[in-house]
């Protein structure tokens, strides 16, 4: 193979699907072939059967919906506050100097470690779930957005000034449109992280959601259901990722590589 030699679109799809097939095949051989006890790992067939019964008999669709609601709700809350703060920090250096040290510190506080505290403060209701996601995504978003906004090419700003831009319009007409595609990419990435936080939040003190179903299934040693739940999370992530990428391509045609 030649380094960096591109592959055709068709070959790319074939290879991509190929690995999925190989993965499931290895899983099937390991379980159906009796190499791994059923107690620890369900076979693909059991997983599909269990998934079907979850959807039809146990109202798992509702759990999926509630989990999506929590992720999206907490994430929108975090983004709504992180966007203005990140933009201000990126554009105005004194604002950055004021907030940056604290935010840098706060981003390393693990969101999951806050769960016991948040249960104490907000109970085990929806507020607590939203707060876990908020803490997990807000600080990351702020810092990354600030970097994206502040990373503008200096000569573009100079050009705007010589064309008569005021300080305010340099922010709105140069810094913001310049950072927009990167900010969209940051939102896509952090939304992916928010998915891991929601499941952790649901594993502890929850009576609904995909994470709650997974803990319940563990008590029943139903690995088929656990794997089905995990795969559903992966699928939703894949779909949201795809939608984000598609939207970004259409919103920012000028940024496409």
């Amino acid at each position: 193979m030649k380094p960096l030699q591109p592959v055709t679109a068709q070959a790319r799809v074939t290879y991509g699907i190929g690995f999925f097939v190989l993965f499931v095949a290895a899983w099937a051989v390991a379980t159906l072939g009796g190499f791994v006890p059923k107690l620890f790992l369900a076979s693909p067939i059991t997983m599909v059967e269990e998934g079907w019964s979850l959807m039809t008999k146990h109202g798992f669709a509702f759990d999926i919906a509630i989990t999506i609601w929590r992720v999206v709700g907490g994430f929108i809350l975090a983004a709504a506050l992180a966007l203005p703060l990140g933009i201000l920090m990126g554009a105005y250096k004194p604002v950055e100097a004021f907030f940056e040290p604290f935010v840098s510190f706060a981003r390393y506080l693990p969101a999951s470690a806050f769960i016991p505290l948040l249960i104490l403060w907000a109970g085990i209701g929806e507020t607590q779930k939203l707060l876990v996601i908020f803490i997990g995504s807000f600080f990351q978003l702020v810092l990354m957005i600030a970097v994206a906004v502040g990373g503008v090419r200096r000569d573009l700003v100079d050009a705007a000034y010589t064309l008569g831009s005021s300080d305010g319009s340099v922010v709105t007409r140069v810094l913001l449109p310049n950072a927009a595609p990167e900010i969209a990419e940051i939102l896509r990435m952090v939304l992916g992280w928010a998915w891991t936080y929601v499941i952790v939040a649901e594993l502890i003190g929850s009576s609904s959601g995909i994470g709650h179903m997974i803990t319940d299934s563990q008590a029943l040693l139903n690995t088929g259901q656990i794997i089905f739940g995990i795969i559903i999370i992966g699928l939703i992530g894949l779909i949201s990722d795809f939608l984000f990428k598609w939207a970004n391509q259409h919103l920012f045609p000028w940024a496409a590589k």
Binding site: L156, A159, G164
Partner: protein, 258 residues
């Protein structure tokens, strides 16, 4: 009275740590008449770009002052249009929107904006590319757009910082003719920084030669070649004589600096 007067403008970059402050420009005085096309010619790092950026208001002078129509320059503004060596079109705007950028900042109505921008797109030879994004255009076309964008604002003076420096020779020659054609028709005051001797003579009514760092003016030479100037003028005896003289002036500086 001159259009632009540069009065004892100098630039000193502050000291960093133990290092001495660096002088980029010795106090320089220069007057530019209305509708004059002057080129500032000098070796790399001679402070010619610094001087231009001070006139643009993008950098502050350590001493002296710049007057435009008798008014002191305090910061960047739409009355001094600038074209940079790097490609500075806004990548998220189409060509026509880039050209109209300054007009929009001034609150000109959309209809009028587009009208002016189309006119300029046509004058610089970009008809048919109005709705392209900058990345779809060649370097030469991007610089044409940058010139149109600066001129659409109708500035009092046009400042150009080695605008064709990154272009290949053929494209560069075409761009020179285009800009000179615009100047001959529109009558603008132009200050053009370059390190290319031929370019400096071909474009200018006056060539100001700067010394190596710290920069100062070492020669100020009028170019009396007739207008309009076809590219063939570059082989005329008068042109060649001027070129020989300027090449020698610059050579001394470059040799001295090494």
């Amino acid at each position: 009275m001159s259009k632009l007067s540069i009065e004892a403008v100098g630039k000193l970059f502050p000291a960093r740590g133990a290092a001495e402050p660096t002088r980029a420009l010795t106090p320089t005085t220069l007057a530019i008449a209305d509708n004059d096309f002057i080129t500032i010619l000098g070796p790399s790092g001679c402070g010619k770009s610094t001087l231009l950026r001070i006139v643009a208001g993008l950098e502050t002078a350590s001493e002296g002052r710049v007057l435009l129509d008798g008014q002191p320059v305090t910061g960047p503004g739409a009355d001094r249009g600038m074209v940079f060596q790097s490609y500075t079109l806004f990548p998220w705007l189409t060509i026509i929107e880039n050209i109209a950028f300054g007009l929009r900042e001034r609150g000109v109505s959309e209809r009028e904006r587009l009208e002016v921008a189309r006119k300029w797109a046509e004058r610089v030879g970009l008809k048919g590319f109005e709705n392209h994004y900058p990345k779809q255009l060649s370097g030469g076309m991007q610089q044409r757009t940058a010139i149109a964008r600066a001129l659409a604002n109708d500035p009092k003076i046009l400042l150009l910082d080695e605008p064709f420096g990154a272009l290949d020779n053929q494209t560069r020659a075409l761009m020179q003719e285009m800009l000179l054609g615009i100047w001959e028709r529109e009558q603008k005051t132009v200050m053009f920084v370059t390190h290319d001797v031929e370019e400096a003579i071909f474009m200018a009514s006056r060539v100001v030669v700067m010394s190596a760092r710290p920069g100062r003016i070492k020669a100020d030479i009028a170019v009396d070649l007739p207008h309009p100037r076809p590219y063939t003028i570059k082989t005329s005896a008068a042109f060649v004589a001027l070129k020989e003289r300027l090449v020698e002036e610059i050579r001394v500086e470059v040799v001295g600096a090494h």
